[in-house]
Symmetry: C2
């Protein structure tokens, strides 16, 4: 797994902007869009340019420290392996857009084992299931 300090070993420099971006993502705990990241950093008095955020996210994706997903309407980012993480996956309701979490399914291990047979090393598993939540099912919409 990757921490900020590992950047140099990936051939990248460690800069204050990258630190800020990563830290904001880490603290938020959830998903942030590029625009939200810019906003969060500027709130701390430290201005950052949009381009920098986009470029940094790209390099963080390369190192596997960050993951991109499109849960709602726009692309959002999150830290892949935060300290004390527990495996969890997302259930998104097509009707009300609510997001539930499923934990401890063991899916990650299964995938890792399957992938290993092909020589593929799995670092991160992103699973999103879509369907209809309990409430919306009762309200009756096929």
């Amino acid at each position: 797994m990757s921490r900020l300090a590992d950047l140099p070993s990936h051939g990248y420099r460690r800069t204050s902007q990258r630190a800020a971006i990563f830290e904001v993502l880490e603290r938020s705990g959830g998903h942030l869009t590029a625009a939200e990241i810019v906003g969060a950093i500027e709130e701390r008095g430290l201005p950052v340019n949009r381009s920098t955020v986009y470029r940094t996210l790209e390099t963080l994706l390369d190192t596997g420290m960050v993951r991109a997903s499109r849960l709602g309407r726009s692309t959002s980012y999150e830290v892949t392996h935060p300290a004390g993480e527990v495996e969890h996956h997302h259930l998104v309701c097509r009707d009300c857009q609510a997001t539930l979490h499923v934990t401890g399914s063991g899916v990650t291990d299964i995938l890792r084992a399957e992938a290993a047979q092909a020589g593929f090393r799995v670092d991160d598993v992103q699973l999103t299931a879509s369907g209809v939540c309990r409430r919306c099912r009762r309200v009756r919409r096929p």
Copy 2:
């Protein structure tokens, strides 16, 4: 599962544009971006407006006939349950971007069972694992 003809039962009308968009997605077999869909349809001589494509994709997402994902740089769409489908998931290499498929992992059933305990009905499972493929591991890049 949903076919084009089921649109009315979802409260949507069946139009030639929707048919074209769905068919293009079905035939492509893979992932298409909104722009690619417009292009593919116009190639058949039938012009379509961008807005229509976006709006249609939104309704197809609502019905669960189509799934959105961000594998590469931009959002792409694919049919969720094509005829004769086999459960398969994606392994994407961070170094060379190659995509492998894992089939028959049983992950979908596991998820479905877990979700059912929360009253959630799973219609579609989208799993993407990132890591490093066999080749890139040999070339040695952490």
